[in-house]
Subunit: 458 residues, 2 copies
Amino acid sequence: MVLAAIAARIGARHVHGPDAVEPRYLDDESGGAAGRPAGVVRPGDTAEVAFVLATCHAAGQPVVVQGGRTGMTRAALPRDGELILSLERIATVEAVDAVAGVMTVGAGCVLATAQAAAAEAGWWLAVDIGARGSCTIGGMIATNAGGHQVLRHGMMRDQLLGLEAVLADGTVVSAMNRLLKNNSGYDLKQLFVGAEGTLGVVTRAVLRLRPPAIRRETALCALDDYAGAVALLGRLDRALPGQLGAFELMWDEFLSAASALPGGSRPFAVQPPLAALVEIEGQADGALAAALEACLADGVIADAVIAQSERDHQRLWTVRDAIGPLVEAMPLVEPFDVSVALQAIGPLVDQLRRALSAELPGSRPLFFGHIADGNLHLALALADEAQRAAAERIVYEAVGAMDGSISAEHGIGMLKRAWLGLSRSATEIALMRQLRGALDPKGILNPGRIFTGQPGAA
Amino acid sequence: MVLAAIAARIGARHVHGPDAVEPRYLDDESGGAAGRPAGVVRPGDTAEVAFVLATCHAAGQPVVVQGGRTGMTRAALPRDGELILSLERIATVEAVDAVAGVMTVGAGCVLATAQAAAAEAGWWLAVDIGARGSCTIGGMIATNAGGHQVLRHGMMRDQLLGLEAVLADGTVVSAMNRLLKNNSGYDLKQLFVGAEGTLGVVTRAVLRLRPPAIRRETALCALDDYAGAVALLGRLDRALPGQLGAFELMWDEFLSAASALPGGSRPFAVQPPLAALVEIEGQADGALAAALEACLADGVIADAVIAQSERDHQRLWTVRDAIGPLVEAMPLVEPFDVSVALQAIGPLVDQLRRALSAELPGSRPLFFGHIADGNLHLALALADEAQRAAAERIVYEAVGAMDGSISAEHGIGMLKRAWLGLSRSATEIALMRQLRGALDPKGILNPGRIFTGQPGAA
């Protein structure tokens, strides 16, 4: 009934029943298994999305919203009986205003396509993540994507000026603001950022662009301990305010594993306990070198390798980018993405290292992170699948005890919902549920994501 | 009944009936007249605020929330029968984390006090507005305050990491996040930013601090036309990415009036049609001068005065700061604060200049603005009070026709609510009302602000 009505409105070739769902709709980056969906629909514009949701709302049909399916938390992975709503046909770069630096895109637009359109107009879309070739702008809004450029320009929320969204009952909310400053009433777009599709479906977006980065300096610094990393960050932040573009810290397990890779680089004669890859943008030549010189003289850092060429720059990033092949080589891995206060990251690593070693024999942790954002990543190689639940408990309880977040960048989805209470107060979760209930009273939009025990939750 | 119950909980000396309300509670910066309030209560902590609101909610008693009463839109001005809830006793700087650069304050804390505490810890609270000696952090959150430093560090929303708020029924929502990145569920604090106290009462806040600005260069540039201003902005933004701290454009009526003031400065031998006060932060000496040299050679600017000393810097700012004495000297003034797309500001000024001159004889406009933010200010001297309504119509309808905002920084309050539909779509306003209805079903919090026709609206 639902599928037939939708097919009559958006065209039968954009509607497929449960037996005709192509495999690509049943997979994401979380490694989880999809259920058997009710079908897939691919509306071509906001009005068609509104029709789809109004129809589903009337019928009580649960819906799972899909962008590029590159999420890490199973938010977009279909469950039994859910209708897949794919935004892939709403993918146009509608306009780039090259004077004001503002871009309008469909939610299904792939990040790399948007980045290229911005660059062609002489601007820069200042969010970048590894999944750029597949992830979509709508998905990045729904998850408030972070990535490599957060330090200077913030997360996806900070690039978003306006949007159009469809509520669960098919109501279209058009909030296509293009202005940097607009204090006329509630800033409604904020509701949909990071809500993982549970409050509405974003169909179009207005993004703020930045002037392209010019001039870049990169260095890899050897550090004796975590306190040294905090001191280095503070020194650079003050010597070069607003110019730090990257500060990627790697702990010794990570450095050892990276240098042991085929073709792995060993930038220091003796491997330090920690190394920080730092990059500044926009400053005149030699500013980073001068600042590091002073840090070396004062004993803040033990050594530094400063890139003298684009090739040096690439070589230094090879150390950090080793995480890709390292994770590939792990038969069983759990990727953690947490945040705690800057000064708590070092103690957290020490604590986790001890606890994992004691409680999960044979597991192997690699610690690294965007520490200037308080963000620690841990790629944990597990000895067997049975260790996974214990690993989550060990890491999330430690993070919760430090008032940290169980998800800095990736979101909650279905994977982390059981742990939400470690990062959010009971009063916060109650208010989240109240909002969810007000905007989607039947709970048809991405049910079971973020919250446990929702209508339709597994 | 309500007052007696509250007095029993928070102490009689913090509760005053309608006949004992001190005059300071009846005044703000909007020039409007207060009604006769039901009294004033001054709770001392979040729990007491919760008690006050639970009591008012049960009794259907409308409440007006007050911080420093420096708002421009009558949001905090009491109306007949409203109970004044003052946050002035919740004003402590609770903590400054000098390592992470994070500050925790009570909502009633005055901005200047918070700024001083940040500075003492070696950090910088990167919001600043003229009312700094009176305005409070809670009021700045409720209005999403802008001010002099938006270009580099954003508005109040961008300084806010976490908050505690009390909903209309007395429910406390504790969301005291201290993390830069936290994607665990909805980012609830966003709801309360810019909501002008209609969704909840903010009682405490966690603010992000920045390293103090070092090195500053200032210049005043003479421009032939608005296109030149846009070109200059583009050039500086690309030559000195992320370093522009101020870009204040002044049109010729403004420049003439400023130079005619007693002691007024006349920086150029021949007054240009437009002048831009530009400032960069964080760059090595001479970078601004070099960039302006190139702009001069290419004909982007007609002339420039570059500050060579702190005294020069002060003298250049005197031109922009002339707005204070100029407005003081106007017997009748309407202050407009609008935003449109960058390239639309020049045409908007031309259009308004013609329309105001034709329709409001004897009125005198001064145009100036933070144009890099798309923000135009217009201080309009009126010939008589009867011109006010026509002036609002002329300005807001022109802004609305350009998809602009009737309030870039100041908010809506009671003053601009009739014009809200010019800046927000009907679907946006409907969703705002839905949120309001969900969180404050009886409409007791700041009724009649932002929206017309609310329960309790005038």
